[in-house]
Symmetry: C2
């Protein structure tokens, strides 16, 4: 009844007769085909405004075909979105039933923009050396940036970033790239790069990613492994595939000191569907 009043107001379905004294709306049986058409088009997912357009003009079959093709693409997207959400919920549920506790990690997909960086890449013999080595590499990166008059991004940006190029988890011979975000135009960077291209430090644009799985760890660096595991399981359960090196961004705290137990670290893993 509220619906009929609304359709009247929208001009979709005016009553066949309105009593001038009581303002009562009277509908005739002949209006039922129109009502059925409205309901059928609504069932197809058209908005009332679109339905109003379709009803007020005579539509050529080709025009209808075009609208239906658009609707079909939209409907397919909606099905996929619903399936994705369902997969997420089921994965969480599976996790909670396996482990008996809810995971403290929340994994989220986001877009990441490309970013100019300076970096240096090394094979680290054993992960135990990682902490001190990265600390040293980043000091050297900063020194070099300084000499090249490249400005590291200030505090809201991550102050220490590592990329892990090994395709699987390993404790020895880890292929790691220490990275520093810098704010420079492409032009000035090319000039700086040309002057020092024999140097082990590289200037480049770190690729962006349309889909980046992101999780945040808070606590000791040693425990970051639990987040890695959680993210790999999540990526698997939600039917994604890893599409690039894992990024480790140190967001706050004494990032340079490996001993500190209150790190704030974001892990990013570029992913693709299927």
């Amino acid at each position: 009844v509220a619906t009929l009043r609304y359709y009247d107001q929208m001009g979709l379905l005016k009553p066949a007769h309105v009593d001038p004294f009581t303002d009562y709306r009277y509908y005739s049986a002949e209006q039922l085909p129109r009502l059925n058409r409205i309901l059928a088009l609504k069932d197809l997912g058209f908005s009332l405004e679109q339905i109003a357009q379709l009803l007020k003009r005579t539509i050529m079959p080709d025009e209808m075909r075009g609208m239906l093709l658009l609707r079909q693409a939209d409907a397919e997207r909606e099905v996929k979105e619903a399936q994705t959400r369902l997969a997420r919920v089921s994965a969480r549920l599976h996790e909670i039933e396996q482990e008996g506790v809810a995971s403290p990690y929340d994994i989220v997909i986001k877009q990441v923009a490309p970013q100019w960086v300076i970096s240096t890449r090394q094979i680290v013999g054993h992960i135990d050396e990682m902490g001190t080595l990265c600390w040293q590499l980043h000091r050297e990166l900063r020194d070099w940036a300084n000499r090249q008059q490249l400005k590291p991004l200030p505090e809201p940006a991550p102050q220490l970033v590592n990329l892990y190029h090994s395709t699987e988890y390993r404790e020895t011979d880890v292929d790691v790239e220490a990275v520093l975000f810098v704010s420079q135009t492409g032009k000035r960077i090319e000039a700086a790069s040309a002057g020092k291209n024999a140097h082990p430090f590289e200037i480049r644009e770190l690729e962006g990613a349309p889909m980046m799985a992101s999780g945040i760890h808070q606590g000791a660096m040693a425990d970051v492994l639990a987040l890695v595991k959680a993210m790999l399981i999540w990526i698997d359960q939600n039917s994604y595939a890893i599409a690039g090196p894992v990024r480790e961004l140190h967001l706050a705290g004494r990032a340079a000191s490996a001993e500190a137990d209150q790190h704030l670290v974001e892990l990013q893993i570029p992913i693709v569907n299927l």
Copy 2:
């Protein structure tokens, strides 16, 4: 940015610091885990209000499991709804590409309530006799209703209803039941029934249906067959199965006269999923 303001207002994520002079909101890196949690829960389909509840209290794994189970059921329903809509759109598209024109029929699913009726059932030799026979049967139904002091429902209700009990379309030996909707309490009807149980007329409650496919035909009775065909195809393409006799409701016009060419007829077919 509008989102952060909204989350602040909702109490979901208050800025770590608000400048008392400029009212600028400043967020700290330590708030990122909370933001990630909000986004992850939103991804699971929880409302912001639910998320607020989940964040303000410590949630036991079992409670979380319960909420996720509810969400899972909901998400499954959403997937099915989206798939149903997609099937509808694809069926329409298929139709328009086969026929080259858009069908004039709009088929809709609705619920139908049970209804007290009087009826009489016959095998009709050939469909050509249908018109006149039904006309006669309904006159007899009305006469009998009158004698029994049963009141037919007045005009907004269909004045002439037939049920087709044959499980498939046929032109000879059609099993048809002429039906008249009456307004009576169960009690008085039972009394009337007892007095005349030798009569070919029957008093009963016509079953309701949770899902009834409905289409409306306007024009000559001879063309109603096109609607029957369209509905059978629609039922097939949308993966439903027929769950009862086809109902033919005459809504307006000189329903009793088979010659009239401006009939308004609704066809109803009870359906079930799969």
